[in-house]
């Protein structure tokens, strides 16, 4: 996994720690994500440290978001919004986090509905689930 993808995982940990504690379900989630991403041993060690100690939110400022493509940035924002909303409740801290990530990504003007509309356009272009019943 490239450095930028480890940073991508770092963003998820930063979000998870925004309420000062990792829940059991969050730990299981990260275990599953990391298995699927097939981390190297070194990357697993780094991720394991992120599970143990509260994540320093300033670490996000060290990520060079300028190297991310626009589609990658939009994906990250949508990912953050999806994870924040996943349990049906978005806390004040999570909302602030989303706004902070938007600013760091340079996507301050974009809304969740903008992102969703783009996804729908992509589905029209590249293929949706209306597979013809031939």
């Amino acid at each position: 996994m490239k450095t930028t993808e480890l940073d991508y995982l770092k963003i998820l940990y930063a979000l998870a720690w925004v309420d000062s504690k990792l829940q059991e379900e969050e730990l299981l989630f990260f275990e599953e994500v990391e298995n699927l991403l097939e981390l190297t041993d070194k990357e697993k060690q780094i991720a394991d440290e992120w599970k143990k100690v509260p994540f320093d939110q300033d670490e996000l400022n060290k990520i060079d978001f300028s190297s991310f493509s626009l589609d990658q940035k939009k994906h990250i924002l949508l990912l953050v919004i999806s994870v924040a909303k996943a349990d049906g409740i978005i806390t004040g801290n999570e909302e602030k986090f989303v706004e902070n990530i938007k600013a760091l990504l340079g996507l301050g003007e974009i809304s969740e509905s903008d992102l969703v509309e783009e996804i729908k356009d992509s589905l029209d272009l590249y293929g949706a689930l209306d597979i013809p019943d031939k």
């Binding site: 969050e26 299981l28 999806s82 049906g88 589905l123």
Partner: protein, 221 residues
């Protein structure tokens, strides 16, 4: 012959819209005039990879995109496959078309065959001559693809099926959506995985279309 037909029918059922992708490529080239052909193909492939991963995220938002879900079963001519798998293959098809167009290949005439070849490269049934120097296998000249015996399709079918089960089916079989994957974001997790899968597929598509049309490809064993 049955396996060959099954593979061909699957690709046929999931063929993307050539005209839409042609327009997409035209716009993409306009927005990226300074890029070389290889850079264009790489960037375009990446664009599709990230958008595909984003579909996974969006599907995790409640009721955002109706019809998208990990449990959707889609019937095609070859039998039922899961909706998310059909979506992945369809997007792979779109990526194949787009990258072929960037390399000025006649993809509309050859989509089924070319897509199967890229699938074969992706799942390791086919290797380029550079990778296969230590293996002596059946030499499959791209130009002679139409004469390839059915057993190659069998191998592709087995390998694609095995690859998908190994990387997708088995692991996702272990995920009871909403249970093992907290946050209720089964598709989100799948999206992260799919990104890696799609990126590997992109490399296979680029390898195939960037090589000359009389390049040789080897089959293992």
């Amino acid at each position: 012959m049955a396996t060959q037909n099954a593979v061909m029918k699957l690709t046929s059922a999931l063929t993307p819209s050539f005209e839409s992708i042609r327009r997409d490529i035209k716009d993409f080239k306009k927005a990226n005039k300074s890029k070389s052909r290889d850079e264009l193909a790489d960037s375009y492939g990446d664009k599709i990879c990230w958008k595909y991963a984003s579909v996974g995220c969006a599907s995790a938002l409640p009721s955002v995109i109706p019809g998208l879900g990990t449990a959707a079963q889609v019937a095609t001519e070859v039998g039922s496959i899961t909706g998310d798998l059909a979506l992945m293959i369809r997007w792979m098809g779109s990526m194949t078309v787009g990258i072929a167009m960037i390399y000025d290949r006649d993809i509309e005439s050859n989509f089924n065959q070319d897509f199967v070849m890229v699938l074969g490269l992706w799942c390791g049934v086919f290797k380029s001559a550079q990778e296969a120097t230590k293996r002596v296998g059946t030499k499959v000249a791209i130009a002679q693809f139409k004469k390839v015996p059915g057993k190659i399709f069998q191998k592709i079918n087995q390998k694609v099926g095995k690859t998908i089960v190994t990387k997708w089916g088995t692991k996702r079989g272990g995920i009871a959506v909403g249970k093992l994957v907290p946050f209720g974001v089964g598709s989100l997790v799948g999206g992260s995985f799919n990104l890696a899968t799609m990126k590997m597929f992109k490399k296979s598509a680029m390898k195939f279309f960037s090589s000359s049309e009389d390049s040789e490809i080897f089959m293992e064993g």
